[in-house]
Homo-oligomer: 446 residues x 2
């Protein structure tokens, strides 16, 4: 029989120096671990550049056998490098590892689909996507995801501070509500079910429980369009809150959220921003606001088109209005409110006194719609009337509508697509550049 | 034409006092907003209990017309209550609102499926689940979700502090890998695809990019079993990290994570814990560890069974070992390591020197397996050998295996089911009690 004591001791993990910590260890023995990012063999010495999660570190080898051993190692082989951190002005960061002992922690790596050490990515987007597990190791391809992670952290931090509760809702639903089209169907134990296009109904219902809720999770759109903006799965940052006066309260919360998101990007992803040449936007104390009707007046007066009477803004209109906001108000953000009811979902709250308009908004950012939100209906009878006016049966919405029979406060919310946000931040020409493993009309792997 | 200036001003939102803030406002005029939780009409006065996200507040009405108006209001109607915060020893929290003006913010609420104000939930689990949007308003049914939200926040905070990067991976995959059974299939633009059973392959691949990653998202299991422990969708808290010596490094990280999770539950969900009578567990500095073989020896020596030779622990064994850890080591947690390779997935790293055992672990918590994890294979040739030994073709795993050809460090990770954790914390008899909208063999709504 074994003795139950003493309790086995867990080792203190990770006796290791990161590349970014090297400067602080000058004169000391260090052990680095990472990938062989690059090697440069000169006449009498060879340089080894190691990449770890913190950045790059250089080691210099002069002993001929060590140089020969390095020559035999392919890039991307995982290495452990032990040596002395030595100040050297010409080295990256002013420090390099001298007299290193190098050993491999993986087998020799197969060559990556393209050179990961080149300062510009020498590959097309399809090549990058086909080989994502390896391609994303390129610092320029990795960096947007560091920004994305910081952005989500900021989103949550802002809402946590405002008393929101995080929720986790079903991604499989019984009826293809919200919009019948563009929905994936699946076999659920012999029944037909659908992938959720948004947590809309769940987050509204949860206002009745927590007042203020958010969710950061996947949503699914069977987008048959092969564009640079559409994904079949994306990460939706959703928030919903009760006891609002109208959509302006929702917009005030969104402004706070954006301010904390950009601050968190600067704080947690500063190096990734520097690498990409990204400057997170200033979020003004007061983001300029235009009513939809005002926006149309502006466009009619200042452009060759007269969009008045149209129910929506075109992409060109959005770009013009974004430029206007920047020029007139120095803001990269612009709220457009009051979109015609005809173009908003049935749960949208109409504008009091002008029921053809809605208490909804879009937030434009650098020329594109980034966030959609608004006040929702909160009275059961208003839902029945809204569905009836659209000639829709309330039947598929029964589970959704039940909550409104039992007392729901005026409420509203918004949804922000994480990939769209990151694409705008990094000026990516395709949302797939900021998605780890995109899913679309054609792409289901890797 | 409209004038583009001045910028419209967003109103300062939410001029409102929360129930929990009432004590700090004694002597002042306050406006509360919330749900009519309960009314009690006595001879000369009536009490109105209002529920908001912070708790309960009492208002007292004596004016006959106001009392009559209150009588006409059904419970769950959304109200605004303006009056004076007045100290009164007998009132809950020592304060109540006097001389209130009451107005309804919603129509009169339909009666909930059961009384939400009763101190014990007067409804069966199916009733609760069928009416989740309203039932969850009951403070006892809501509280577990507050614990869950705090737990996830703690999970992320711990890993953020350890240099992990949050990732978002596809929930739809091309092949039903990891285990062919229990997988949902769907129609993906005319092709057959599958809901992801875990982010396992993605998180491993991302170790090559970020070294340390985590994801908090939905996973899907087509569990044909109707048990108190199984859900068809649950929230998996996944972590994976590179450059480990072996699974003990992963266990050390998990211990940190658990410590921060419990601390965050205490900090952010203290009231919910008090309401439920929950004491978050002590996470020992060193969680006791038993090797699988040692666990079998213990069981053979101290119970009527001799499990030696069996490839797994039974639920009864897990309960016995949990009690043993509590009795002998004062720990509600117990690591069991080294599970036989035969019972672990193909990507599991074998135990050096004893290849029938693995570098894997389960964490038992209060009698149940809570976390599964371990070291993974990291050499491409080891994957090919492992699949071959199991008679499996590497073909369906091609996308997964590619990463390992290009240099991967020794790594490992773990997955913790959020609902299972919350169920254990709250001693729930069914995991559905701690899931907002459970999905299972029978349930696809609400």
């Amino acid at each position: 029989m074994i003795s139950p004591k003493p309790i086995p001791t867990l080792p203190v993990p990770f006796p290791r120096t990161l590349a970014a910590e090297l400067t602080a260890r000058i004169g000391r023995q260090v052990t680095l671990k990472g990938w062989l990012h690059r090697k440069r063999v000169l006449k009498s010495v060879a340089f080894l550049v190691l990449r770890d999660r913190s950045g790059l570190a250089q080691a210099v080898l002069s002993e001929p056998r060590a140089v020969a051993a390095l020559c035999a190692l392919p890039e991307e082989t995982v290495l452990q490098v032990t040596g002395t951190a030595t100040a050297r002005a010409q080295a990256p960061g002013g420090v390099e590892v001298t007299s290193p002992t190098v050993s491999a922690l993986s087998g020799p790596a197969a060559p990556p689909p393209f050179d990961l050490y080149r300062p510009v990515v020498p590959a097309t987007l399809p090549t990058v996507l086909d080989h994502a597990p390896v391609a994303l190791r390129h610092p320029l391809l990795r960096a947007p995801h560091t920004l994305a992670a910081a952005s989500v952290a900021g989103f949550r931090a802002a809402l946590d501070a405002l008393g929101f509760t995080e929720i986790h809702t079903p991604k499989v639903v019984a009826s293809a509500t919200e919009s019948g089209a563009n929905v994936f169907s699946l076999d659920w134990f012999g029944r037909t079910a659908y992938l959720a296009q948004s947590p809309q109904f769940f987050k509204q219902a949860m206002v009745g429980v927590f007042e203020r809720v958010y969710e950061t999770g996947p949503v699914f759109r069977a987008e048959p369009h092969d564009t640079a903006r559409h994904l079949a799965q994306y990460t939706s940052l959703d928030a919903e809150l009760g006891f609002v006066a109208d959509h302006h309260d929702v917009m005030a919360v969104l402004r706070e959220v954006l301010a904390v998101m950009t601050a968190t990007v600067e704080e947690r992803a500063g190096e990734a921003c520097a690498l990409l040449g990204v400057t997170p936007p200033e979020v003004p104390e007061r983001i300029p606001v235009l009513h939809f009707a005002e926006a149309q007046e502006l466009l009619a007066a200042h452009t060759d088109e007269d969009p008045r009477g149209e129910p929506d803004l075109s992409p060109a209109h959005e770009r013009w209005l974004s430029r206007w906001a920047l020029r007139e108000h120095g803001s990269e953000f612009l709220f457009v409110t009051g979109y015609p009811m005809a173009k908003r979902p049935f749960y949208t709250h109409p504008e009091p006194g002008r029921p053809q308009y809605s208490n909804s908004f879009d937030l434009l950012f650098r020329g594109l719609e980034l966030v959609t939100g608004g006040q929702r209906l909160h009275r059961h009878e208003d839902y029945l009337a809204a569905l009836s006016a659209r000639g829709e049966s309330p039947e598929p919405y029964a589970g959704y509508l039940a909550a409104f029979r039992h007392g729901m406060p005026p409420h509203g919310g918004f949804a922000l697509g994480l990939e769209r946000w990151t694409a705008r931040l990094t000026a990516a020409d395709n949302v797939r550049r900021v998605t780890l493993f995109p899913r679309d009309l054609h792409r289901l792997t890797p």
